[in-house]
């Protein structure tokens, strides 16, 4: 079966794939490209586990069609670290134990990265509102908020 030919950029690399018209970007990333960092929690845009950045906008990849990525720039969790060097948010999530089962973590990291890029000095309230589209059933959120606050400090100093 043929599909729609899509040329896009993922984490800075040119990527081409064929996908079906009703196939989500999340399914393309996971099932066709092997980028399994983005997770499917709900599949309806409620949980944020599939968060990616498309052309500078934080989105749920489960609510984007694979075909829509044509000509866009997609950033996923796989592009967050530089080689072996973790992004400050990743480092602080580890230090603050801001994860338990880890399913929500890639989405939180991408959403937090987007938040800090747009607002480098968020208040606690702004962090909580900014991450309201990401659900975590383990941590109770507090450690995640502390990790983002700490990462913001580090990133400002960098």
């Amino acid at each position: 079966m043929a599909g729609i030919a899509v040329s896009t950029t993922i984490n800075g690399d040119a990527v081409e794939y064929l996908c079906q018209p009703d196939e989500t970007l999340l399914d393309v990333l996971r099932d066709r490209l092997g980028l399994t960092g983005a997770k499917e929690g709900c599949g309806t845009g409620d949980c944020g586990a599939c968060s990616v950045i498309v052309d500078g906008r934080l989105v749920c990849s489960c609510l984007v069609l694979g075909a829509e990525a044509e000509g866009r720039k997609v950033e996923t969790i796989e592009g967050m670290a530089h080689g072996d060097q973790l992004h400050p948010l990743q480092q602080k999530f580890l230090e603050h134990a801001a994860l338990q089962c880890g399913i929500c973590t890639p989405g939180f990291l991408i959403a937090a990265k987007d938040l800090l890029e747009k607002n480098p000095s968020p208040t606690e309230e702004e962090i909580r509102f900014g991450l309201a589209g990401n659900l975590c059933r383990c941590t109770g959120y507090d450690k995640i908020v502390r990790a983002v606050q700490d990462a913001a400090q580090v990133m400002k100093g960098a």
Binding site: G3, P21, G48, L63, E78
Partner: protein, 311 residues
């Protein structure tokens, strides 16, 4: 390029015969002109869906509520992804995400109520995709941006096989999930008037938590004042209070000439409560929705009045 990226960089996927695909005949197109989009919509044999942000469409597809034969992605159509300031006011393209409304300083200053309503829809992730045109055409009685748009007397530019027409936004939804748009028609933009001096609008909703929820009941109010601070024109709209968003003309009229004194606010609440035809469900009882509709109308009117420069 990092080594770990190598495996997908060369991937040109040639399809998989075992791919479990439900919509065998589904087509996805991305037309470059309104004429092409309308032409395709008009000649579609099966169900056709317009895709802008997809935050309703993809959920409905996933749930099996709609299986479109044709998906028309309108984001590549020139002008549809832009907010234009015109001599008459603002023209908000049908594909402009709500987040972009919040980032537009001129729009936010002119129509803070419309923008705050649009920015209440969903999370950051949803804001990056969802549109006010989609919110209008999804035709939910609880749509957040619609009462604010109705109060603002916003208009919708409808393109169709026989040309274009401009209609009041309140004439678009006809019931839950239903619109007055004919086959082949689509909304290409929402128009908001230029603001005179001493004008303000506001939108409030009740939800049982602080965000990420659907309005139990909501109110949008739009006012203009004369030089002395008396209300010159007023429009009041209620959400989640009837099968469609309600324009409560009587509520607007009761405000005219007043400076929003206590007695006027009481009458406003009473009229709004009386105009409700709400449902009784787990989110709120009829009695609760009636009461809160009045309270929200009062509070939204008070905020709109302050924004218009009244005291």
């Amino acid at each position: 390029m990092h080594e770990r990226d190598g495996h997908y960089n060369q991937t040109l996927y040639n399809g998989r015969s075992d791919y479990d695909h439900q919509g065998e005949t589904m087509r996805y197109i991305r037309p470059l002109s309104i004429e092409d989009a309308v032409g395709e919509l008009a000649k579609a044999v099966g169900p056709a869906a317009i895709l802008a942000g997809g935050s309703d469409l993809l959920v409905r597809m996933k749930g099996g509520f709609i299986e479109p034969e044709l998906i028309v992605d309108i984001k590549a159509i020139g002008g549809l992804a832009d907010i234009a300031e015109t001599a008459d006011g603002f023209r908000i393209g049908a594909a402009v995400p709500c987040a972009v409304l919040g980032e537009n300083k001129a729009l936010k200053q002119a129509w803070p109520g419309v923008v705050e309503a649009a920015n209440l829809i969903g999370s950051k992730q949803v804001q990056g995709r969802c549109t006010i045109t989609g919110n209008l055409c999804n035709a939910s009685p609880a749509a957040d941006s619609v009462p604010a748009l109705v109060a603002a007397a916003a208009q919708a530019v409808v393109a169709g096989p026989s040309g274009k027409r401009t209609i009041a936004v309140e004439t678009v939804p006809t019931g839950p999930g239903r619109t007055s748009l004919a086959k082949g028609e689509m909304i290409e933009a929402i128009l908001l008037d230029k603001r005179p001096e001493h004008a303000g609008d506001a939108y409030l909703r009740f939800i049982p938590r602080t965000e990420m929820d659907i309005a139990v009941v909501s109110a949008g109010v739009n006012l203009t004042l004369d030089e002395k601070g008396a209300i010159k024109t007023a429009r009041v709209a209620l959400g989640a209070a009837a099968p469609t968003v309600l324009l409560v003309e009587e509520a607007g009229q009761v405000l005219i000439g007043s400076k929003l004194d206590e007695e006027t606010l009481e009458r406003l609440a009473k009229i709004c409560s009386g105009a409700c035809r709400p449902i009784d469900d787990k989110r709120g009882t009829i009695e609760f929705r009636r009461k809160v509709a009045g309270v929200l109308a009062q509070r939204a009117a008070t905020t709109a009045y302050k924004r218009a420069g009244g005291k």
